[in-house]
Symmetry: C2
Subunit: 328 residues, 2 copies
């Protein structure tokens, strides 16, 4: 089968690419798992890490806002599209027009190009907790009341995916992700970035500021489980999804204090003491608007499992990203 990943060099796009190249796991048009014969990784930029070295991989740069580019990308041989390309939360808030161009018009371009193939490809759309607005606990029936432009654009994308699917133009599925922890790489400016930094930096010998109170809870999911969730949603039976194509992925809900306790248990005092408390009212107020608890019955019905514990999340990060070694 032919698969397209937009945002294919990003953290999740790249991991998903490596995973689906490794074994035939995606359910193809025939209804059974098929090998990927061609994998197109699309992104706006030349990748920082080189694309996977594999004869099946083609790397394409371009602008998702340009309909002709997306039409050329998603052709009549395309079976499945994973749509990650997006301006992230902070970027969409800073540049309103860019956010709507990429996150709304870009997603419509993906749906329109898919519709034009006239073969109803599977589209897996990436959504986020940012579609919610202020509830402490969320479930599959919680109303979407986004409080950021990014959240509004993701909620609109979900509505488009549902309607294009209802009309039979695409076989769309949406995955709503918790905060991804531990994100590898350098700190970024996303308001949620600290939740990864307070674990990632100390394990590599760096000190780091924790901007929020120990009682603050975060709803989190590891990159590994997120990649599995994308495969699960792609492969889900149509009748489990029904008319609302969005699946809210469950996460675990540790407090920041519990996350730091787990870091101390695994890394020891020297590692844990690299985290200093540095309250930031702005970050605290943003994070206080995010949900703490998710009770997603649909994800459970699809067998989609969150991580077992913070300890598991940290151990996986050490194994996958640090070659098993920490700076004690």
């Amino acid at each position: 089968m032919k698969v397209v990943i937009t945002g294919g060099t990003g953290m999740l796009g790249r991991r998903l690419a490596l995973r689906i190249l490794a074994k035939p796991e995606l359910v193809g048009p025939g209804g059974a798992s098929e090998a990927v014969e061609k994998l197109v990784l699309f992104d706006a930029f030349e990748p920082v890490e080189p694309p996977p070295e594999d004869p099946r991989v083609e790397f394409v740069t371009g602008d998702i806002c340009d309909p002709a580019t997306v039409d050329a990308l998603i052709d009549c041989e395309t079976d499945s599209v994973f749509h990650f390309a997006a301006v992230v939360s902070g970027g969409a808030e800073a540049d309103f027009d860019l956010g709507f161009a990429v996150n709304l018009e870009g997603s419509r371009n993906v749906l329109e190009a898919s519709r034009r193939t006239a073969r109803c490809p599977k589209i897996v759309f990436t959504s986020s907790l940012a579609v919610y607005g202020g509830e402490r606990s969320i479930d599959d029936l919680t109303a979407l009341t986004p409080q950021t432009s990014y959240g509004a654009q993701k909620a609109i994308g979900e509505l488009l995916v549902n309607d294009y699917t209802r009309k039979g133009f695409v076989d769309g599925r949406t995955l709503r992700l918790p905060t991804i922890v531990v994100r590898p790489g350098k700190p970024n400016k996303a308001a949620s970035g600290f939740a990864s930094s307070i674990l990632r930096e100390p394990l590599q010998g760096e000190t780091v500021a924790n901007p929020v109170s120990p009682e603050t809870r975060m709803l989190i999911l590891s990159p590994k489980r997120a990649v599995q969730a994308f495969i699960d949603v792609h492969n889900a039976d149509d009748d489990v999804l029904g008319r609302n194509r969005a699946v809210m992925m469950n996460g675990i809900s540790p407090t920041i204090g519990e996350m730091l306790d787990a870091l101390r248990a695994i890394g020891g005092d020297a590692v844990a003491d690299r985290v200093r408390s540095e309250p930031d009212e702005l970050v605290q107020s943003i994070v206080d608007g995010w949900p703490w608890f998710a009770d997603g019955a649909r994800a459970r019905a699809l067998g989609m499992e969150p991580d077992a514990s913070v300890e598991e999340i940290i151990e996986t990060f050490i194994a996958e990203e640090l070659g098993g070694k920490i700076e004690g």
Copy 2:
């Protein structure tokens, strides 16, 4: 103040125009009710009924999908915009691209033109029960899960209004309307059209088919109350609205049997006997997906009242549209 009504020659647009020309009821930029000095009625077509004869009225035809047209319409003197222009439910279902062009891009054009005025005009956006999907009872917190393209476009419009308002580009407000009964004029092809026809036609001496069972409930509101609701939402205090700018208007919830009983009580047997039962499975199945009961606390908090009874709705129609006379 200067007011623009898109869809200004439609059933609700025209009624609202006559109402706000008659007395100074709209709260203007100064925070008090102000007289309308200029009223622009915009529509895609030349009106069937001539626009109100009033020196303050200007009638403009044009395409809401054209950004330059909408920019010229909503200029730097515009204080308030009532946005009715839309492809209706059946039309948006029959022509997917036209529905998205008018109902999504057209609404974005209205928001963008308003943003460009840099004076944060009030925008009142018309939404509908079509944003819901299959719940028997709805309240202000019910998730929007539209089952038609029209409903998806209205739900997207609500998200846009919320985000443009949060950013301070416009002072947006959304009114979600029940089914309007009694619509005057000729029968149309909307699935909800029968709810008006079974009252309107018999009162004018015409026979009419009732496609649904007597036990079916409809959530209905008269045109008169709808116009009042638009004025109320326009004038609502910002702090009552808060971040979610949508107000779900309450209606009354008679069964079709109760509607026909009221028709008999008012018009007599000769009128009521003009309704013949002619079950239509398709219409029944569509109507069965619509909510029966609305419990809108926000509308109540804003003092927005539905009609008192079906009898009141019928009596108002006879007085306003039939000159007080029925064909007995």
